[in-house]
């Protein structure tokens, strides 16, 4: 059993969640049949908490958040509930959702150009939102506030930047502008989907630091979506591991990285090349996971990971779907308790695939 750092109750554990996703399901009809893209996803995000959603491409990360924001194609069938400050996003109409997207939930996607208008200046794009949501009294105040926001996200010479067009900025600077826009509505929740994936590591480090600072300062809840496990180790409080549209493991970041309980999580961590391998570890064989993830139109019965699972204890794995159940008491980095859960019939020895120990 893991040594969960239980004890004193802390902020993240106690507060009313900003977001509570319950049994989220998304299905889409495709030429290849019905795609079951998200299959019963539940999690919550407390104020000031960073929840990382990790998984390989196609595991349903993006669709799971687009569903919350009403950004899926109209023919998508979405089920479950997603309470944002107690109100169900999935029950809202488009006008109400648009209001929430601009004022309450901030979004940052991988490609900043999906959020920016190429023919408007950076200044216009920020002030429009501020004025539309009545956050400023007039144009002059809007420009002041916009310049302040750009300064907050670390844009050099923010006043000059107001007059620039997106194409005049580098990728890292554009992503800062998108973050400034996301923050202009003073969001209670920030959703970042592969927000640093296209950036170089030195710029990525700047953005991670920026978002983490803003989270700490404003108590923003953050959902950080990425395929890159390294990116979340330093900033997440809690991690959810997605596979085939299901959460196969979740828990405090230390618990999941150091004592992964699900064979898939163990496999992912074992497959990662390590920067700080000892000299003996270099050029050794990586422990690859055989095969490839299943398409959502063709999910296997039983445990969704069983065709690739090196453990695959018994018949049951192929027939029954393992529920997500606690495997240990667990904790966030700040010491507050949070269960460490995994959806597997066979919880293998801790630490086997861990990167940290």
């Amino acid at each position: 059993m893991s040594a969960g750092r239980t004890g004193h109750a802390g902020r993240a554990g106690d507060a009313q969640p900003v977001l509570e996703v319950q049994d989220l399901r998304v299905e889409l009809d495709t030429p290849r049949g019905t795609a079951s893209i998200v299959n019963g996803l539940s999690y919550s995000v407390a104020p000031g908490e960073t929840v990382a959603v990790v998984g390989e491409s196609g595991s349903g990360k993006s669709v799971s958040v687009m569903a919350l924001l009403g950004l899926l194609p109209a023919h998508a069938r979405v089920g479950g509930r997603a309470l944002f400050r107690g109100r169900d996003l999935l029950a809202m109409g488009e006008p109400e959702l648009r209001q929430v997207r601009g004022d309450g939930i901030g979004m940052v996607f991988q490609d900043p150009m999906t959020s920016l208008n190429p023919v408007l200046t950076v200044g216009r794009q920020i002030t429009e939102g501020l004025l539309a949501h009545g956050r400023v009294a007039g144009g002059r105040q809007a420009r002041e506030r916009a310049a302040q926001l750009l300064a907050d996200v670390g844009l050099p010479d923010p006043r000059a930047a107001l007059g620039r067009f997106p194409h005049e900025l580098s990728g890292g600077m554009r992503q800062r502008v998108v973050i400034a826009i996301a923050l202009s509505g003073d969001p209670a929740l920030l959703i970042a989907d592969e927000a640093t994936t296209a950036l170089d590591v030195t710029v990525q480090a700047q953005i991670l630091e920026l978002v983490d600072g803003l989270r700490a300062e404003h108590g923003t809840g953050v959902v950080w979506i990425t395929h890159d496990l390294g990116v979340v180790a330093g900033t997440a409080d809690r991690v959810l591991v997605l596979y085939g549209g299901r959460c196969v493991e979740d828990g405090g970041v230390d618990d999941v990285f150091e004592r992964p309980a699900h064979p898939y999580t163990q496999g992912l961590l074992g497959a990662l090349p390590q920067l700080h391998d000892g000299p003996g570890g270099r050029r050794s064989e990586l422990v690859a996971i055989a095969g490839a993830p299943p398409p959502p139109t063709d999910l296997p019965p039983g445990c969704v990971f069983h065709p690739r699972c090196p453990v695959r204890g018994d018949e049951r794995c192929a027939l029954e779907q393992p529920p997500l159940v606690p495997v240990a008491l667990g904790a966030r980095p700040d010491g507050t308790a949070v269960p460490h859960r995994a959806a597997t019939f066979h919880d293998t020895a801790p630490g086997t695939g861990g990167a940290g120990s």
Partner: protein, 340 residues
């Protein structure tokens, strides 16, 4: 036989920048590769890292003469590649090959996997005759871990990892000595990436291949490389044993780059001190005078704008182009010393 298979000396690739309009006047140049000295030893993997736009792909292409160098030279197995004529160039194309990043874009969607892998055999006149060629294709597919029965199938029927295996089989068809892997695993998921990295390593051992492994992913580079070269703005600024470069980087840029790589280890991440760089990489059309890193270097000092640092030994077998290890290099003419 020298133990160096590929050598670049003062290698330059400058691309012209032209004005818009009919005359397309030349207004400047992109110094994509700007004086690179590099040696790749037989049988080793040299990792090449650096941020996007620093010139990694251009350097890899120039070593294979897929782009024409504008200065300096490249030697492959002792011969000057830049002076080769058509027939000799074809021989080079067989011995020195590229595995590309994108297994989706680099395969012809209308050609079967078998046709794709057989193409270099046809071009180089190897294994002539339908039966011999089919046998060789089957052998190559097996070599990269694919079922030889897959030969009649089309690329869209394969996953990303399998397509990358097809790309590798094709690259290996002519029994090359030298393979440039340019972001060869970048578009693959972690679990599949590990399969391909393992395959590349196994092939190297079996076939005695020499690799230039180009990647922006330092952990992957560290995993596969014997030695690592770090590039910044068209120049190799550090090169040495993989362990030494990744644990004791000597150039301030390499130090910052390594400190920014996220580690999948929460405890280590919390202990870590990051060197956060100021500003952004300058444009390759306006390279700063002297040390090209000086505009962002936290340790820049008096000689940095005035002397272009040469690679020099910082510890045995580990070289860095930085004046902190002694002011050595090419003085900048007084009129070119800018404040920028």
């Amino acid at each position: 036989m020298s133990d160096v298979l590929v050598r670049a000396r003062g290698l330059q690739v400058h691309f012209p920048v032209r004005a818009r309009g009919l005359r397309r006047r030349r207004t400047g140049e992109v110094r994509a590769v700007d004086g690179v000295d590099l040696e790749i030893r037989r049988g080793e993997t040299l990792g090449l890292v650096g941020e996007s736009g620093c010139g990694k792909s251009t350097l890899g292409n120039a070593l294979l003469r897929l782009v024409e160098p504008t200065g300096g030279r490249v030697e492959f197995d002792g011969t000057d590649v830049t002076a080769l004529r058509a027939r000799e160039l074809r021989a080079l194309r067989r011995r020195a090959v590229m595995v590309f990043q994108d297994p989706y874009a680099s395969l012809d969607p209308r050609a079967t996997v078998g046709q794709t892998v057989a193409e270099p055999l046809r071009v180089h006149g190897l294994h002539p005759g339908a039966a011999a060629r089919a046998a060789r294709v089957a052998e190559l597919l097996e070599l990269v871990g694919l079922d030889p029965a897959a030969a009649p199938r089309y690329p869209h029927e394969f996953s990303g990892g399998q397509r990358q295996r097809v790309g590798i089989a094709r690259a290996l068809a002519g029994e090359p000595d030298f393979v440039v892997c340019d972001e060869a695993v970048a578009s693959l998921d972690v679990s599949v990436q590990a399969q391909v990295l393992n395959l590349l390593r196994e092939l190297q051992q079996r076939l005695g291949l020499t690799y230039l492994f180009v990647s922006h992913d330092l952990a992957a580079v560290r995993h596969v490389s014997d030695r690592i070269a770090v590039m910044y703005l068209g120049r190799v600024v550090e090169v040495g044993d993989a362990d030494a470069v990744s644990t004791r980087p000597q150039h301030p840029y390499a130090q910052a780059l390594l400190s920014a790589v996220p580690l999948p280890d929460p405890a280590a991440e919390r202990r870590r001190e990051r060197i956060v760089l100021r500003g952004e990489v300058p444009s390759a059309t306006r390279v700063p005078s002297g040390c090209r890193f000086r505009t962002r270097c936290p340790r820049a000092f008096a000689p940095c704008p005035d002397v272009d640092p040469a690679l020099q030994e910082a510890e045995p077998g580990h070289r860095a182009a930085c004046h902190l290890h002694g002011v050595v290099g090419t003085p900048v003419p007084a009129e070119q010393r800018g404040p920028a």
